[in-house]
């Protein structure tokens, strides 16, 4: 029958109510946005300025505060697509191998003859062996230095590809190691870029990896992409300093050879440091997560030759004392020197978790960009243009909705009113879902919503037209309505599944603003089928139960 069972009615009502509640914050966009900023600031710093407190009070905490993100084309800002030249890292990795190989091979100089590095392509280490007939011996020695790859995907593979070319030994990174290296390079680059942009205090930047070697950077509110480029270009300053003491007073008087640097992770803790660094981040060639002799997480690091000497001497003279690792004028770690560290490599121990060790290694490596970046795409949208677009989008959506409503009511009377109310709920549901899943509304996205308004009524039209047909063959109203819904269903399903397919493809293959369009369009298809089939049906059934009309004019 036309009746809808109670639990379904309740379910529909609950979904509608939830949709409305979650859509409401978008009506008070600025108020909610400043409220959210204040809340974020509170969790970050623990205190609020009076303005922030006012902003926080501007929206009640118990109401949902998720709002749709506005795309750059609507709020203005800059976007960059950077390609990280991951190959550059191979060169420095391979160059760093040379001293090790020279030493190992030189130990066997009696059999191998003279050992000389030859000029080769970047990322290739070519070593000439004096006695050509001993090349196999040289390969054997080289293989002893060939460590297994330390990544999940490269299990069982070696780091280096060692081949021969006449009496030359040719050493380069294996494909598995290149993959692992690329991954590390990308992680480092992302981390550096993120911290560079965060440091500038911009709001909600989006920094994500795209594909294998690209980074997409979106900074709302930035006045130009050039500005962001400069920001990313600045080198991170990393230094290792000796610690003179600690204090809780940032303004404590210091001697000529002392400086006060805040701790990066402990609030209220300040270190008194010797301002002349022992070594700097520029001297660091590598840092990676490791374990200490007891199996606890630690960070292994390696310096270049000159810094290794300086660091060796320093550690020898300061065993048991702490030294500070300072990044951008913040002490990120102050470990105690356990022993003399010769050879420029060592491990930093502490009460690290695996994640902390990984992060610290990342931070250490993140001292400078590991490889240069090429900017493939850049966009800047001025805030005025974005505001104009929002204004135009709102106007067009309002007029479009009004026209559709008038047209529907003129065509179907009361049923048109039902369809129009359902359309309004549909728009609310789209905003509610977008807010909750945190998707981004772009200008094409607004177009998608307007288009949805036009097409959303389609399912209703199919049903209403079918009801008309059934009425025409002299069916009683109840039966006609029932058959109308039943018989229109296969057309509604087929039509929407095919549309859904194209929208999914649009989402998967589309980029940027186009994807924003696909998102609203996809959500719109789902919500419009729901509102058209269930919501209007609920209205019709409630109306029918109350009125029991003997005849129906549609």
């Amino acid at each position: 029958m036309l009746q809808i069972s109670l639990w379904k009615r309740v379910l529909i009502a609950v979904i509608i109510a939830a949709g409305l509640v979650y859509a409401v914050p978008n009506l008070f966009y600025n108020r909610v946005a400043t409220h959210n900023d204040a809340v974020a600031a509170e969790t970050r710093t623990g205190s609020l300025t009076p303005e922030q407190q006012a902003a926080k009070a501007g929206w009640p905490d118990w109401l949902p505060s998720d709002i749709v993100n506005l795309g750059l084309d609507l709020r203005g800002g800059a976007q960059l697509l950077a390609q990280v030249n991951v190959d550059e890292v191979y060169k420095s990795r391979v160059d760093a191998l040379w001293p090790e190989f020279r030493k190992a091979l030189a130990d066997e100089r009696a059999t191998l003859g003279s050992i000389r590095r030859l000029r080769a392509d970047p990322g290739v280490l070519k070593i000439q062996i004096g006695n050509a007939d001993q090349i196999q011996k040289a390969v054997q020695i080289a293989e002893t230095l060939n460590a297994p790859v330390s990544s999940l995907t490269g299990v069982g593979q070696k780091t280096l590809k060692i081949t021969t070319e006449g009496n030359d030994l040719v050493i380069q990174l294996s494909d598995a190691e290149k993959g692992a290296t690329d991954d590390r390079t990308m992680q480092q680059s992302l981390e550096i870029v993120r911290r560079r942009i965060d440091a500038a205090g911009t709001r909600e930047p989006t920094i994500v990896r795209e594909g294998s070697d690209r980074i997409l950077i979106q900074v709302p509110g930035a006045s130009s992409a050039q500005e962001i480029k400069q920001l990313i270009g600045t080198t991170a300053k990393l230094t290792f300093n000796s610690v003179i003491g600690t204090t809780s007073n940032p303004n404590q008087a210091t001697g000529a050879n002392e400086e006060i640097v805040p701790s990066g992770d402990q609030k209220g803790l300040y270190y008194i440091l010797d301002p002349v660094p022992v070594v700097t981040g520029e001297d660091l060639t590598d840092a990676r997560p490791d374990t200490d002799q007891n199996g606890y997480p630690a960070v292994a690091f390696r310096f270049n030759a000159s810094a290794a000497r300086a660091f060796g001497d320093y550690t020898q003279n300061n065993i048991g004392k702490p030294f500070a690792i300072v990044l951008d004028n913040k002490v990120i770690s102050a470990p105690t020197i356990q022993s003399h560290i010769p050879g420029g490599s060592g491990i930093i121990t502490g009460r690290f978790t695996v994640k902390e060790a990984t992060d610290l290694a990342l931070l250490l490596r993140a001292g400078a960009l590991p490889a240069s970046m090429t900017f493939l795409e850049e966009r800047t949208i001025g805030p005025e243009l974005g505001a104009d677009s929002i204004k135009a989008g709102k106007l067009a959506a309002g007029v479009g909705a009004a026209l559709v409503v008038v047209f529907m009511i003129a065509s179907y009377g009361l049923f048109g009113v039902f369809a129009s109310v359902a359309l309004g709920l549909n728009i609310a549901l789209i905003f509610a879902i977008m807010s909750v899943i945190g998707s981004t509304l772009t200008l094409p996205g607004i177009a998608g919503i307007v288009l949805t308004m036009g097409t959303a009524v389609d399912a209703n039209v199919l049903v209403f037209e079918r009801i008309r047909e059934e009425l025409r063959i002299a069916k009683k109203p109840a039966r006609a309505i029932e058959l109308g819904y039943e018989r229109a269903m296969s057309a509604i399903v087929d039509a929407n599944v095919t549309t859904f397919l194209t929208a999914v493809i649009l989402f998967v293959l589309g980029a940027g603003p186009v994807r924003g369009f696909a998102v609203t369009f996809l959500i719109g298809i789902i919500t419009s089928v729901f509102t058209a089939i269930w919501v209007t049906r609920l209205f019709v059934s409630l109306w029918f139960a109350r009125r029991r009309p003997k005849e129906l004019v549609l």
Partner: protein, 326 residues
């Protein structure tokens, strides 16, 4: 009797095949003309597809395209296209122009110096000129985007082909795809004819048109499937006519509401997405036409094996609760 707006009378009996030579012929001619247009005149590709830079400027005094061109010429940036933009939403003293600069040799994106030089050059013409947006895309990305675009359209067509085949007969899916190819080709054709900018958003519009047009076609097919079961003895041609007539009111209603929404967007939605919306508006018109005049003509042309068991239209994708239970 309450007033009802009825664009289509209650019962129609149009013979949609009466002028099939003309209607189908028009479609064939338009498709061929579109292909010839694209081959001879080409498309006005946006920077998404060929790389380069677009700069949007705004100023209080009217744009002098000639003066802008002269000012930029000494920079030797190669192909530079300057167009003035008009929009009903602009304020009286809001004058907008877009400047498109070709991809520079050996550069992935425009250098900051070039951008500064362009602004300086424009300031010699009009010192208050502002740059409200810039977009720069390197040849590498644009090359990839072309393939993404081609793939997405092909993938969508293929997915629809398979779905319609599964739910209906293979003849239907050939008809539906022919209609889709018609819609896409004719839309690309009009972009070539008017030399409107063809960029990534137009691909999105094309996919939307695919979705819309297949929606329309499927509704007609759904009715056809139902009527084929109902009127087993009626000639195929008449069953088709009946099905189109029965769904005509719905076709007109839905096209009507969609066009109302799109036209308000076209007029009021601003110039930034005007090309995109134009493609969709045009596509809805063409798509509606093709589902009435193209898709089923192809099915009629191929013919249906009517003795074969027709796929069951009541095959349900989801439980429809009480209605189905009765």
């Amino acid at each position: 009797m309450a007033f009802r707006l009825k664009l289509v009378p209650e019962k129609t009996n149009f013979d949609f095949f009466k002028h099939q030579v003309v209607t189908f012929g028009v479609s064939v001619v338009m498709v061929i003309a579109s292909i010839i247009l694209v081959l001879t005149m080409g498309l006005n590709l946006g920077i998404d597809f060929r790389g380069g830079t677009t700069i949007r400027t705004e100023s209080d005094i009217p744009v002098d395209v000639g003066a802008y061109r002269q000012a930029i010429a000494p920079l030797n940036l190669g192909d530079v296209a300057i167009t003035q933009v008009f929009d009903p939403n602009f304020r009286a003293d809001q004058h907008v122009a877009t400047i498109r600069i070709q991809a520079q040799d050996g550069q992935e994106a425009i250098s900051p110096e070039t951008q500064g030089q362009v602004l300086d050059a424009l300031k010699t013409v009009n010192k208050d000129v502002k740059i409200t947006s810039t977009e720069s895309i390197g040849p590498k990305v644009s090359g990839e985007l072309i393939w993404t675009a081609v793939w997405s359209v092909l993938a969508a067509v293929f997915a629809i082909l398979v779905y319609v085949w599964l739910r209906f007969e293979w003849q239907f899916s050939v008809g539906a795809v022919a209609a889709l190819v018609h819609d896409v080709t004719v839309t690309i054709g009009i972009f070539s004819l008017f030399q409107f900018r063809f960029d990534l958003s137009i691909i999105a519009a094309l996919l939307t048109i695919l979705g819309y047009s297949i929606n329309d076609t499927v509704v007609v097919f759904d009715r056809l499937r139902e009527n084929l079961v109902k009127y087993k003895k009626m000639p195929l041609r008449e069953v088709m006519n009946l099905s189109v007539n029965e769904t005509l009111s719905r076709t007109v209603m839905t096209s009507g509401t969609t066009l109302l929404a799109l036209i308000s967007l076209l007029v009021l939605g601003g110039d930034v997405i005007r090309n995109f919306v134009f493609a969709m508006t045009w596509g809805v018109i063409v798509g509606t036409y093709s589902s009435v005049y193209v898709a089923k003509n192809i099915v009629l042309f191929i013919g249906l094996d009517r003795n074969k068991e027709t796929k069951d239209p009541s095959e349900k994708f989801f439980d429809n609760g009480d209605v189905a239970a009765d």
